[in-house]
């Protein structure tokens, strides 16, 4: 229960940081997806079941608080948490490049899932243009922020294990 509360606070803090502080360094409305990075790191460290659950909660929080299409981020982040959780037994968690490579793959997956959902909902867009305007800046932002976020999640997981 206590752990749930702590991770809930981490999610809320991450969301507040993402929406109220980091927009100061946004590039045309595009910035760091802190909740995605938290989901990826949590999935890598805690396995598929907890990763999927964490992603579900992170996406649900984002959907409810931001007013976007309800369920879109819930689905994408849940799947990403689950997929990265599957890889948790097969990777070296302390490697420097792990969070960066994971962030790139996760950003692509997240983008792909949301793009497919938008198309299924009937919204049309120029794929190449959108790739250039939204996807590339997000990849850069997320790659830069991935390592500090991963370090933070590692540190918190270790603290909890000690207790």
């Amino acid at each position: 229960m206590k752990y749930c509360l702590i991770w809930g606070l981490v999610l809320a803090g991450g969301y507040v940081l993402q929406t109220a502080f980091l927009p100061l360094i946004n590039f045309y409305g595009i910035g760091v997806d802190v909740l995605l990075l938290l989901t990826v790191s949590f999935g890598l460290l805690n396995g598929q079941r907890l990763g999927g659950l964490f992603g579900f909660m992170a996406g649900l929080l984002q959907d409810l608080a931001s007013g976007t299409f309800l369920g879109t981020n819930t689905l994408s982040k849940m799947l990403i948490g689950y997929v990265f959780g599957l890889a948790s037994q097969r990777v070296f968690k302390e490697k420097f490049f792990l969070p960066i490579m994971s962030a790139i793959v996760a950003t692509f997956l997240n983008y792909f899932i949301l793009a497919v959902l938008m198309l299924l909902l009937g919204y049309r867009f120029n794929f190449l243009q959108h790739l250039q305007m939204a996807f590339l800046p997000t990849i850069i932002y997320n790659s830069v922020a991935a390592f500090p976020v991963h370090l933070f999640v590692c540190w918190l997981c270790d603290k909890m294990k000690e207790k």
Binding site: V16, T19, F21, L22, L35, Q62, S66, M78
Partner: protein
């Protein structure tokens, strides 16, 4: 025996995953069509997070102003030179604008117009947060139902239209920006020879430009045209600047075209907005069927 059990567990897990994914899929499609909402969840999320976002946003802005101040000191000489040349240009412009202002004054007096801002009751608000990681464009402002803000009220800045209130809570409100793909604003080209009407909606492909759709192919719309709200639809009062036509492209169907607009408001640097809580401007009357009287001969 244990292998059989492991297989059963694994099957059960797969079915649970499929069930969860299917349920979320259903929620997405029902929610997008307005048949499923989570007002309580949204209210709780906003009530808990918005005050925190407000505090963090203020701290962020203070840091931003401080760093901007330091940077200004560093670049003060260069700025001074630029400002000198700008002063010269502005003097010329001032002369011209004085001339135009006096002409405008006379015309206003002639037509009996009141000062345009007086037709609105405005509530100013600060932008508390904006989530850039979604495909939609919403902001949270620090004014809500306690300040008279209600759903569907228009939100503006001195530059032009920002969007409309999507949801209002006690002290906070969600504002759907003009750039959100779900928004639709009734607009008209301001140029007197044109006056072409169309709907401006968000452009999911490019977050910097809005799209004016449903323009007939032969309509008189050119690059550089100013587009303002038409007042139709009842949400947005007439005459608020929406944007400037940047380029025109043909629609896939071939009968229509659409214009890409550079919004009048710089959404990248949006910090304060005003909500129109009351507009004294009369909204256009709904279109009614004209009375067609049968010809005298036909009645017999």
């Amino acid at each position: 025996m244990s292998r059989v059990r492991r297989n059963t567990d694994s099957n059960k897990k797969i079915w649970i995953i499929i069930f969860v994914i299917f349920s979320v899929f259903c929620i997405i499609f029902f929610a997008a069509r307005g048949r499923f909402t989570a007002p309580l969840g949204e209210r709780v999320a906003i009530t808990v997070l918005a005050p925190l976002q407000n505090i963090v946003s203020k701290i962020g802005n203070e840091i931003h102003y401080a760093t901007a101040g330091i940077w200004e000191v560093v670049t003060v000489y260069k700025q001074n030179q630029m400002l000198k040349s700008e002063v010269e240009q502005l003097r010329d412009l001032n002369l011209q604008s004085n001339e135009l202002a006096s002409e405008n004054e006379r015309l206003r007096a002639l037509l009996g117009y009141k000062d345009s801002a007086k037709q609105f009751d405005l509530v100013t608000a600060e932008v508390v947060s904006r989530d850039s990681a979604t495909w939609t464009d919403m902001i949270i402002i620090n004014r809500g139902t306690n300040d008279g803000v209600k759903k569907d009220m228009a939100v503006i800045t001195p530059q032009g239209l920002v969007g409309n209130v999507a949801e209002a809570y006690g002290s906070y409100a969600k504002v759907q920006l003009l750039l959100d793909p779900r928004s639709a604003v009734g607009t008209i080209v301001q140029r007197p020879e044109s006056r072409v009407a169309g709907i401006v909606e968000g452009n999911p492909g490019d977050k910097t430009l809005a799209r004016m759709v449903n323009i007939p192919k032969d309509a008189d719309v050119v690059e550089g045209d100013q587009v303002v709200t038409s007042g139709f639809g009842g949400i947005y009062p007439k005459g608020i600047a929406v944007g400037k036509v940047q380029r025109i492209e043909n629609d896939e169907g071939g009968l229509l075209k659409y214009a890409l607009l550079k919004p009048a408001v710089d959404f990248q640097r949006i910090e304060e907005v005003a909500v129109i809580v009351n507009s004294r401007e009369a909204l256009p009357l709904p279109i009614t069927q004209p009375d067609v009287k049968p010809a005298a001969g036909a009645a017999k």
